[in-house]
């Protein structure tokens, strides 16, 4: 095909263009023509189509996500908010921390290893782009049923991919989730979170300012990876895309990324960039238009200068390529030599591809011919916005009206069987098979990782300042009530930070849903966003960023609404954190918080094939008092251990506590079945020295948190109301599940 230039677009205005195949709707195509005052060139069409895809433009979610800004609490801790590559928060002592989650769901279904690996690579570059050194990763994952044949294909590949990439980058994996449900069978969820740290003065932004400054592309060469991946893979269900349309898979090179990180940090340390942007979804289309749009608008790029892995790529393909491990920087001419030198030291390919101009157009040429001439804001930030129809789906009232009939354990045998059944359930079983494939030690700053409630890393070796991060989603509750589900996930993540003694500070999220074109799914989404925004306002936590993944559905069946919420907290001295379990006998165990009849949406109900009933109603005021109690109690050194209750209720929490150090416990519970199985939110088990019981009582009374003594630590069994389960038997049940399933 002949090169389609701006001149030929003018002289040859009426040719028919494949906008529909590129995922653009007729009215979107019409708008592009209106913006340009002519038909787009094929390169412009490529750019608009990827940048206006759901994945890049947030066209269906924008109107809802606005609430995170509108309802936000004003806080000085937020140094960079939503809109940049990742939000940045002040954690004290001059340090700033950035963290964000992204999804790589569809690619991971197609090619589990590479999909997951490049998911990790992408989020790490987002964090690096802010000027931060990446210090840890986490990976909330969702799969189809544990025993489904396709799960056996997908899960090992995804775990190996997350590990393969993260381990090679030298980033400790400090947490994540592994959850199974039928609805994820054709739609596994691979969410990846990265945390980075920097000094306040080191924050970098994606903006191209200063006419005459150079546009520099560095990192891997550009190949035909994932061309159209952004628009096709992320924006349409597999149903509508035959294999012919399936784009090339992106393959990651973690070694190149590791070198890119070190090279970039050296460049940042010498203050050599004005602005910087990673190349992720939509590749150069995204990086050039976002950088230009973030600055004054003018930029000239000579596309033929881009170093290629495959010499046959067309300009359209180069613009859309999603080759990994690339960055784009804006550099003052006086600093370019030093920039090139550092790249040479690290053996990183680097090319000046253009310059910032004082105009307001993004102009791209191909061997001298103008092939793109657009106002960059219209590409990057002024894409279409949809207020999609939404309607509460019929299932909601129907399932909410269902009465849960599952039998709760009463006799000693039933109690024992229930504890063992929950301990072995894939959703609750020991995840070492997974986490043993991840390096948790590298960098030497990991304080907590699996199986702790949250991941914790030290950020200053002298002052012992640290941060903790937890991610949570309870899709069962979100299915029953998406508004409460999002709030409950927020509360759970915050609680998981606080059990260690860290104070929750900021929120990120990854919203995984079905098709936004389904009004029922759109309602779930809107309710989840409203719940999260209201919850954050109530808890005084800013949302610093996040990601939306739509079209996670197979045919007409969507995944359970899965808003994954990440909360970051600060702890002044990591040496004083409260661990999740006890390492000695003779301690008293207390349950903090109240247990209600919250069997609906519980793991126990799920194991018995029931998923109806009503989700609990979040009481965030009480959650905040509980958090206060945990943080204050930690400061006052009241706790030997503290562990959150969530899926699997008290049974799961006790199982994890006794197995951690092989110290048993004996507990006596009122209303034992419900107390053991219910998943009422806002609860924590703490272990304390008996001498501290009065201090704990006083604190609980002050915070108005119900506290119940449930037993003592010691022995080599878990004994619940006389039902005795040897730790060896419990350990076997808990640890056997994954190796049995996945080898």
């Amino acid at each position: 095909m002949a090169l389609d230039t701006v001149a030929s677009a003018k002289s040859n205005p009426d040719i028919s263009q494949p906008f529909a195949e590129l995922g653009l709707k007729p009215d979107e195509y019409a708008r592009i023509k209106e913006i340009l005052g002519r038909r787009p060139t094929s390169s412009e069409l490529a750019m608009y189509s990827v940048m206006w895809s759901e994945h890049c433009s947030y066209k269906s979610s924008k109107v809802h996500l606005k609430q995170f800004g509108d309802k936000a609490v004003k806080t000085d801790a937020l140094l960079v908010g939503i809109g940049e590559n990742a939000g940045v928060v002040d954690v004290g002592q001059g340090y700033a921390v950035t963290f964000k989650i992204e999804s790589h769901n569809h690619p991971s279904f197609v090619e589990p290893y590479q999909g997951a690996a490049t998911g990790v690579g992408g989020i790490v570059r987002d964090i690096l782009t802010m000027g931060a050194r990446p210090i840890a990763v986490m990976d909330p994952l969702r799969f189809g049923p544990a025993d489904a044949p396709d799960t056996r294909r997908v899960l090992p590949g995804i775990i190996a991919g997350v590990g393969g990439y993260g381990n090679c980058l030298g980033l400790p994996n400090i947490g994540g989730e592994v959850v199974f449900d039928e609805t994820y069978l054709g739609n596994p969820l691979v969410n990846a979170l990265c945390i980075g740290v920097m000094k306040h003065s080191d924050i970098k932004l994606a903006k191209a300012a200063g006419a005459g400054n150079l546009v520099v592309l560095y990192g891997a060469k550009t190949g035909g990876d994932g061309i159209g991946g952004v628009s096709v893979l992320a924006s349409e269900t597999f149903e509508s895309t035959g294999p012919a349309k399936r784009p090339a898979v992106q393959v990651g090179d973690p070694f190149v990324e590791k070198v890119l990180i070190e090279c970039s940090l050296e460049i940042f340390a010498e203050d050599l960039v004005v602005g910087i942007q990673d190349l992720g979804g939509a590749g150069l289309s995204c990086a050039t238009s976002e950088l230009a749009s973030g600055g004054s608008g003018g930029m000239k790029v000579e596309l033929d200068r881009v170093p290629l892995r495959d010499a046959t790529l067309s300009p359209e393909e180069i613009l859309m390529s999603e080759s990994q491990e690339r960055m784009c920087a804006i550099v003052e001419p006086s600093k370019i030599n030093r920039f090139l030198e550092i790249c040479k030291k690290w053996d990183v390919t680097v090319t000046v591809i253009g310059e910032v101009t004082d105009g307001d157009r993004l102009e791209i040429t191909w061997h001298g011919d103008l092939i793109v001439d657009v106002p960059p804001r219209t590409v990057a930030h002024e894409g279409p916005v949809y207020n999609r129809p939404l309607a509460k789906p019929d299932y909601v009232d129907r399932v909410n009206a269902e009465v849960i009939t599952v039998k709760l354990p009463e006799s000693a045998e039933e109690i024992k069987a229930a504890v063992l059944k929950l301990a072995a359930a894939p959703n609750l079983a020991d995840k070492s098979w997974v986490t043993d494939q991840y390096d948790r030690y590298v960098q030497g700053n990991t304080i907590q990782s699996q199986p702790d409630d949250s991941g914790m890393v030290r950020i200053d070796e002298k002052t012992h300042l640290g941060v903790a991060v937890a991610t949570d989603a309870n899709a069962n509750w979100s299915y029953l009530n998406p508004y409460e589900g999002a709030k409950l996930a927020l509360a759970e993540a915050a609680r998981n930070i606080a059990t260690a003694g860290a104070k929750p500070l900021a929120v990120t999220n990854c919203l995984n849903f079905g098709s936004p074109e389904d009004p029922g799914v759109m309602w779930q989404f809107a309710e989840s966003v409203r719940g999260l925004a209201d919850g954050c306002l109530e808890m005084g936590l800013p949302v610093t960023g996040g990601n939306v993944s739509f079209y996670n559905q197979t045919g007409s069946v969507a995944i359970l609404p899965t808003p994954v919420i990440g909360v970051l907290g600060v702890i002044d001295d990591v040496r004083t954190r409260t661990p999740m379990s006890f390492d000695r006998a003779g301690l008293e165990l207390y349950l903090l918080g109240e247990t209600q009849n919250d069997i609906a949406g519980s793991e126990w109900a799920y194991l018995h094939g029931q998923r109806g009933g009503k989700a609990p109603i979040a009481d965030l005021k009480r959650e905040m008092r509980l958090i206060d109690l945990l943080v204050t109690g930690n400061k006052e050194k009241l706790f030997v251990a503290a562990h959150d209750l969530s899926q699997g209720g008290l049974s799961a929490t006790l199982t994890e506590m006794v197995l951690r150090h092989g110290i048993g416990a004996e507990v006596t519970l009122e209303n034992v079945g419900q107390t053991l199985i219910s998943e009422s939110p806002g609860r924590v088990v703490v272990a304390i020295d008996p001498a501290k019981s009065n201090a704990l009582k006083d604190l609980a009374a002050k915070e108005n948190i119900v506290m119940t003594k449930i037993g003592n630590t010691g022995g080599d069994s878990l004994i619940v109301n006389g039902a005795k389960i040897a730790l060896s038997e419990l350990r076997k049940a808990h640890t056997e599940t994954f190796p049995k399933l996945f080898g």
Partner: protein, 81 residues
């Protein structure tokens, strides 16, 4: 005893980090013959007796299903000797 060989290579358009690393290392050691290097896998499968066409067809199926990932790789099945 016969032998069937399956050679699996990444598709040409797919990034090959290992091949790239080898290609970069060779000139550092003074070897300048390579214009490019691609690294793949080689499976040597021992079968009972001389490989039969039926066996080769089976191996072909196994290559498609297990030994190669057709999303990113191509493969060749050969009887050896």
């Amino acid at each position: 005893m016969g032998k069937i060989v399956v050679e699996v290579m990444l598709k040409p358009e797919i990034l090959d980090p290992q091949g790239t690393a080898v290609s970069a290392a060779l000139p550092r050691l003074g070897f300048n013959f390579a214009k490019s290097v691609r690294q793949g896998k080689r499976f040597e499968i021992e079968v009972e007796g001389e490989p039969t066409p039926a066996q080769l067809a089976e191996v072909e199926k196994a290559a498609e299903k297990l030994l190669a990932n057709p999303v990113i790789e191509t493969y060749v099945v050969k009887a050896e000797k």
